[in-house]
Symmetry: C2
Subunit: 178 residues, 2 copies
């Protein structure tokens, strides 16, 4: 799989079933959510704002998108929801590697730069390093309409993984989050 | 990671936390188990019996092992337990690929031959094709003492994935299943 195909297949609405593993205590968390991944044009104001924030030439980016999610966890009564804009910048020498800019991380309220690469097996790995922790995410397609994601949070020394989660995401035929 | 290191790191006792996703109904299953992976010598009687069963030269095999598991699911009152012997045969031309012989599959009561390969990212993929379905498993190490497994069951035409599961496995210091 080429990285372009990976980005294009990601666009759409996904019904996500996520299991969180809190490793030290072998606790399980269950989350059901809807995720919208919407393609943006490279001159979208939200995209240009991120390019400006990171002092990046808009000509160097590819496949920017907005991700919006809305879900419920069995650990929390409050609905989970949010939205973020993500901007890939492929490496000039190797387009299957690059950086991913975003306005906010999943779990953080600050902006973040992640590194990505696509393996020869079609697994997209995203690594985000924060001050005190690092988040790694692996995403791959089982079929064009089914993708899996494994996310882990490590302490910043890379030794301890505190939580891991697994998401099965099925492409939905409806077009927007209700 | 070399395949030899992958096989050697797998040896030990693991405390496994598994989430099953039944995709059509977005059901969750939770399983806690202990898994023992024990190295066997290439002339162990159980290994030689499998070589004979598959008409395989014992000189062509590497790193045979026995896997034993004991656990409990929140879907079933009966404890889950079992044991199987597995025998890797690396491809002569490329040792990161090969076949894995076993006396019994995880979910099947018949013997099965699987194909494996290790990606450049250190992800070990195992594909077992049955008459009516195919099982794919991806296994990788987050650290030497933490491994992840994602298993999927597909219909034999490869189009439909019916279930997916994710296991977080932490190396245990005790030596045997109690």
């Amino acid at each position: 799989m080429e990285i372009t195909e990976f980005f294009e297949l990601s666009i759409g609405r996904w019904r996500s079933q996520r299991s969180g593993h809190h490793l030290a205590f072998a606790h399980f968390e269950q989350v059901l959510s809807d995720i919208d991944i919407e393609s943006l044009s490279t001159d979208d104001p939200a995209v240009l704002a991120i390019c400006q924030l990171y002092d990046t030439d808009p000509a160097s980016i590819t496949h920017p998108f907005r991700m919006t999610w809305k879900g419920e966890s069995d650990w929390d009564d409050k609905p989970i929801s949010g939205s973020t804009v993500l901007v890939p910048i492929p490496d000039a020498a190797n387009s299957s590697r690059g950086k991913l800019l975003r306005d906010k991380g999943y779990a953080e309220t600050i902006s973040a730069v992640a590194k990505y690469h696509l393996s020869d097996d079609g697994i997209f790995t995203l690594l985000t390093e924060y001050e005190l922790a690092a988040a790694e995410e692996k995403i791959w397609f089982a079929t064009p309409n089914l993708r899996f994601r494994v996310a882990t949070i490590k302490t910043s020394d890379g030794k301890g993984v505190t939580t891991a989660s697994f998401s099965s995401e099925i492409r939905s035929l409806s077009n927007s989050i209700s």
